[in-house]
Symmetry: C2
Subunit: 159 residues, 2 copies
């Protein structure tokens, strides 16, 4: 008998990710108020991850960054985040979506500049050898073969 | 100067997929009333696809199937579809999600048994060499190196 697949769940009931961020300080403070609930992991998915992510007022989704290998996609469920990319700023609203293709170098993130929470789905694949660049900050990130991100200064030195 | 990334859009404004289904008859009739709006493709994403999919009353999301390589994930935005898997039936509601890990053989699909539309997001990766099995129907599918699905009878003969 094969093991039963996990049953569907209410996404809002999924447990929050244990570790809030891997960023070193002073960068970790910028994502204070961000809560990620991994959804795909609950079903054993390995090729991509899906998170239900909540941004309290003032929180950022991440530092502004671009991936070399990982495609990313977001769909806004609640609230009005500001998307910041190389092209400028766009105010998003529920029902809007955006995608960030790997390798373009166009860095992006969301900022919650409102007084209400923002809730969105984010999807990203797990392509080996991924790295992330941060045009606004003295940071670079490399995905290890263990699946964990390592954060370094731009000169390669450790925080 | 690098090309600008595509701007965020309202997902409901994305154009529907040109080809409604690749299923041969009599199977195509079961997904009549299904409309898929590819979202990830609009942003050039290649590692996974995201669709905004609407099921009119009576429509099925697909034949009940299982993938060998592709992980799948759904998030219900509107309506009350019935998820059918090897384990039985589950009525879903807005805010619920489910994942279908590749290789388990547990076949799944959604049926809209209500009088109202169902709207959901679906995510699937694009791992080469994927295939799909259909326990309830005389059908098998193989993903070609051209990225297109070929549908055959279980004995390998063409429809």
């Amino acid at each position: 008998m094969k093991p039963a697949s996990p049953k569907p769940i209410k996404a809002a009931h999924a447990p929050p990710r244990a570790r809030a961020t891997g960023y070193p300080e002073p960068f970790a403070a910028r994502v204070k108020g961000r809560e990620k609930r991994p959804l795909g992991d609950l079903f054993g998915l390995q090729n991509f991850g899906v998170n239900l992510t909540r941004l309290a007022p003032g929180a950022h989704s991440s530092l502004r960054h671009a991936h070399t290998k990982q495609d990313e996609f977001i769909y806004i469920l609640e609230g009005y985040p500001t998307l910041v990319t190389d092209a400028g700023e766009t105010r998003l609203e529920p029902g809007m979506c955006a995608g960030f293709k790997a390798g373009t170098g166009d860095a992006h993130h969301l900022q919650n500049r409102t007084e209400s929470d923002v809730l969105y789905l984010e999807v990203g694949d797990r392509t080996a050898g991924d790295a992330a660049s941060y045009p606004d900050d003295d940071l670079q990130a490399v995905l290890g073969t263990d699946g964990r991100w390592r954060y370094l200064r731009k000169d390669g030195s450790a925080y």
